[in-house]
C-alpha cells in the first residue's frame, strides 16, 4: 500500500515538474505582453505630462508596447 502511494506521489511530482518546465516560455510571453504595454504606455504618459502633448506619446507608447509584447509572444510560439 505504502509502495503504491509512493509511486503515485513520485508520478505526480514528475508530472508537476514536466508541466512547470513547459509552462516557462508561456509565462514569460504573457507577462512580457502585459509588462510591455504597461511600461511603454507609462513612459508615453510621463512624456505627455512633461511635454504637454497629451495624448500622443501615450497612444504611441501603448501601440509600441503591443508591438513589443506581441513580438515576444510570436517568438515564444514559433520557437519550435
Amino acid at each position: 500500500m505504502s509502495g503504491q502511494r509512493d509511486h503515485f506521489l513520485a508520478k505526480s511530482l514528475e508530472s508537476l515538474q514536466e508541466n512547470i518546465r513547459r509552462s516557462g516560455p508561456a509565462a514569460t510571453a504573457s507577462y512580457t505582453l502585459v509588462g510591455a504595454v504597461l511600461l511603454l504606455g507609462g513612459i508615453g504618459y510621463l512624456l505627455d505630462q512633461w511635454l504637454m502633448t497629451s495624448p500622443w506619446f501615450l497612444l504611441g507608447g501603448l501601440l509600441l508596447g503591443m508591438v513589443v509584447g506581441f513580438y515576444e509572444i510570436a517568438k515564444a510560439v514559433w520557437k519550435r
Binding site: 518546465r21 509552462s23 509565462a27 512580457t32 509588462g35 504597461l38 511603454l40 509600441l64 513589443v68 515576444e72
Partner: protein
Amino acid sequence: MMMPDEGSESVGFNPGEVIIEHVSNSSIDHPIFELPTVLGINFSVTKHVLMLWIVAVLLFVLITWSTRKYLKQDRPIPTGFMNGLEAVVQFIRDSIVLPNVGKKFVNTWTPLILTFFFFIVTANAFGLIPMFEVLGAVDRFILHTDHESIINRVLHGGATATGNYNVTAALALITFLAIIVAGTKAHGFIQHWKNVVPSGLAWPVYIILIPIELMGMLVKPFALTMRLAANMMGGHIAILAILSFVFIFSEMFQSVLAGVGVGLVVSLPLVVGVSALEIIIVLVQAYVFTLLTAVFIGMAINVHH
C-alpha cells in the same frame, strides 16, 4: 464600493487612507531608526527596510547555521529543518534551474535562484504574520510605552517588503544583470549582444528589430517588478478592504453592534478565505519569480534563432 469618503473635510472613517497607509512604506521623515545621510542618501530605516533586514538576517542565520550543522555531522542524512531545506533546494535545482539553464551552467546559477526563492518566499510570508499588530496589542494593554517609543514607531500595520516596488525593482535589476552576465559567460561579450537579435535577416529588418528587442530586454525585468509587488500589495488591500466593512457599517448605522455583526457574518469568513488564498500566492509568486529568472537566464545561454 470602497471609495474614500467624499469631501476631505469629513472626519469619519476613511478606508482608502487607512488601506494606503497600511500597504505603503512609512515616511522617511519619521523613521523607525535614525541613520546618517551618506552621499546624499538617507539611510534611515523605515517599515519596509526593517522588514527587509529582519528577513535577510533571519534567512542568513537560519540557513547558514543549519547547513553548517549538517556538514559537520558524520552521517549524510539530513534531519529536521535541514531535511525540508534540502527538498526545496533539490526541487529548485532539478525542476526550475536545470531544464531552463542546462547541465553546463546549472551549478553556476542555482545559488542565485535559490537566494531569490528563499528571500522572496520569506519576505512574502512575513507580510502575512501580523507581528506588529500583536506587538501593538501587547503594548496597548500590558507595556503602556509612550507615543515616541520604538514599538509605536514601527506600528504602521503589517508590512510586506516585497509589496514595495523598490524592493522588487532591485530584485529584477539583479535578474537583468544576471541575464547579461549569463550570456557573456556562455558566448563572450560581443556574441551575447549579437545573440539579442536573430541572425541572417535582410538589413532593413534590423532597423525595426533591434529597438524592439532592446525594449523587450527592458520589459522583462519590469514585468517581474510589477507582478510580484502588485500581487503582494493586492492581497493585503483585499483583506483590509473587507475588514473595513466593520468600521463602515458601524459608522453608517451609528452602532458598534452593526459593525461587529457584519464583521462576524461577512468580513471574517471572507478574510479567512482570502488569507488562505494569500498563503498560496506567497508560494506561487516566489516560485514564478524564480522560474522566470531561470527562463530568462536560460534564454541568454541557449539561444534559439
